[in-house]
């Protein structure tokens, strides 16, 4: 096998400035897109629960279209397609002296739109998982529907929503690799540039893979921490340990036990 170990170790442990910039961009785009997606997703979920029919219809259509089409196609449409049709062009913008390239803006908007549809579904099922009786008990104590949502329903739903939201974020971080298609110089794009300049194709893509692995692993730790804090606050046992999440050893017994815990929690 032809493998340049020296190049590999160097690229792995002393990555170039260019590579680190790509890594940074991957993280920033992911975090910003996720934060925005959370807000938009929440709005879509609330529209879906609204009694106002046009809101309901809009939310359903939005979720249907976005989840039913590939992210890649969505990105190309909003960046290249819109510009070609003269609808909208993402121009480089200046934010507090920091130039944000049009492609990066399009990437954030595209990922945000895409992710928000998934967030909306997670929020919807999270809110639905809280028993109706909770809402009624809150109302009977004199809370307005809004206060009941804020003080009783959401705090319980959050705990249900965090695991799928975290997994969705994990998914999204990996998906940023397709942003290279619209010319965003995130980590994968930088890897491609290095590979064509050095011809160390295998080596550099292994390095790229390892960095993605690092990102998702670090996130898994953070997510486990968040879940534990929430579970402790709710007086529940600790969430699944990190090594089990990472290596997928979720035994059947564990799952059944968790189902039981969930059933008990619902019954209570």
């Amino acid at each position: 096998m032809n493998f340049n170990w020296e190049f590999f170790w160097q690229a792995l442990f002393t990555p170039s400035r260019q590579f680190l910039d790509g890594l940074m961009l991957t993280i920033v785009i992911s975090v910003v897109a996720m934060a925005l997606a959370f807000i938009v997703g929440l709005i879509i979920a609330l529209m879906g629960r609204s009694k106002f029919l046009p809101f309901k219809i809009f939310a359903s259509l939005y979720i249907w279209v976005i989840r039913g089409t590939p992210l890649l196609v969505q990105l190309v449409i909003i960046y290249t397609g819109f510009a070609a049709a003269g609808i909208f062009r993402f121009e480089d913008a200046d934010l507090f002296g920091l130039v944000i390239r049009g492609a990066v803006q399009a990437a954030i908007v595209g990922l945000m739109l895409n992710e928000s549809a998934y967030v909306a579904e997670i929020v919807r099922s999270g809110l639905e998982s809280v028993e109706r009786g909770q809402h009624e008990a809150a109302l009977s104590l004199g809370m307005t529907p809004l206060a009941a949502m804020r003080r009783i329903i959401v705090p319980q739903a959050i705990r249900i929503m965090v695991p799928p939201l975290g997994n969705s974020f994990n998914q999204m971080m990996k998906q940023t690799s397709i942003l290279s298609i619209i010319g965003v110089s995130e980590m994968f794009q930088v890897g491609t540039i290095i590979s064509s300049a050095t011809f160390m194709v295998f080596e550099i893509y292994i390095v790229v893979a390892l960095y993605y692995l690092l990102l998702t692993t670090v996130w898994t730790f953070i997510q486990a921490q968040i879940e534990n804090v929430l579970n402790t606050r709710a007086g529940l046992p600790k969430a699944e340990p990190v090594f089990k999440r990472l290596f997928g050893v979720r035994s059947k017994k564990m799952t059944r036990q968790q189902l039981q815990q969930h059933a008990d929690a619902v019954k209570a």
Binding site: Q134, E136, S140, A147, I152, Q156, R159, A234, G235
Partner: protein, 275 residues
């Protein structure tokens, strides 16, 4: 636990402001309710005087739960009027003299004065037992937190659960949870307490402890409307038994009279099953 000096303070909400002494706390007039084209309540009228304990009985599907829920507008009504403690629930006359629905905030304020105890307790699982009790007084009524916590501890003491203040609701037995639920409602110092089959989800050995708390409450002067099939409790505690059948009240009288000499054939049939 059934010491009268305790129970007097336990129901101190009942002597609060609102309707003058002797006037009815509940006044439901010709209440109609349907789900789709299925009529559930067809003209139910009921008055409950201050301090009175009314037990609502009737066959399954008669509309007992639905009627109880209309009393605090958990279930909106299609026709009729409901007044609690001198206030018309859910509706008001606006500045142009027209009858309009209350705002969410106004309706919430009305509900704050009406305790509701559910069959399945519906305690808040993300709070401790103590917080379940003081949460609404602080966040809904704006009571001082220290005072609300002290009051909550007092109420837990009265329902016999002082030692469980820091526990999570799910670690309690059904009977204990229901007693917490009662304390949670009492913490709002309600003018009226509604109970929807408070013991029917409990194991038989836990029924007594909940009924004992309710009996204390009744002895303390609380106005109560209770849906229950506990005939022993009814005989002992109820001032009146009201029989609901097919969305109408078919019988209304003192327990002794209703049980021994029912006026209606349907009551006879129903009672033969539960007595």
């Amino acid at each position: 636990m059934s010491n009268t000096s305790e129970t007097a303070t336990m129901a101190d909400g009942a002597s609060g402001s609102g309707a003058p002494q002797g006037e009815s706390i509940v006044k439901a007039i010709d209440v109609h309710k349907a789900f789709g084209d299925k009529v559930i309540l067809s003209g139910v009228s009921l008055e409950v005087a201050r301090g009175e304990v009314v037990v609502l009985v009737g066959p399954s599907g008669a509309g007992k739960t639905t009627f109880l829920r209309t009393l605090n507008m958990l279930e909106p009504i299609d026709g009729g009027e409901i007044h609690v403690n001198g206030q018309r629930i859910g509706q008001k006359v606006n500045s142009r003299g027209k009858l309009v629905d209350c705002s969410a905030r106004e309706l919430a304020a009305q509900r704050a004065d009406i305790g509701f105890v559910f069959q399945h307790f519906n305690l808040f699982p993300h709070m401790t037992v103590l917080e379940n009790v003081w949460h609404a007084p602080v966040h809904v009524k704006g009571e001082n937190k220290n005072e609300a916590v002290a009051h909550a501890r007092e109420l837990l003491e009265k329902v016999g659960l002082a030692d469980w203040a820091e526990a999570r609701p799910r670690s309690l037995s059904g009977g204990q949870q229901q007693r917490v639920a009662i304390a949670r409602s009492l913490a709002m110092r309600p003018a009226l307490m509604l109970f929807d089959e408070p013991t029917s989800a409990l194991d038989p050995e836990m029924v007594g402890e909940v009924l004992a708390v309710m009996k204390d409450l009744a002895n303390g002067g609380m106005t109560m409307v209770v849906v229950s099939h506990e005939m022993g409790f009814t005989r002992e505690v109820a001032d009146r038994v009201v029989v609901l059948d097919g969305g109408r009240i078919i019988e209304d009288g003192a327990p002794a009279q209703v049980f021994s000499d029912p006026q209606h054939e349907r009551t006879r049939q129903f009672l033969s099953k539960v007595l």
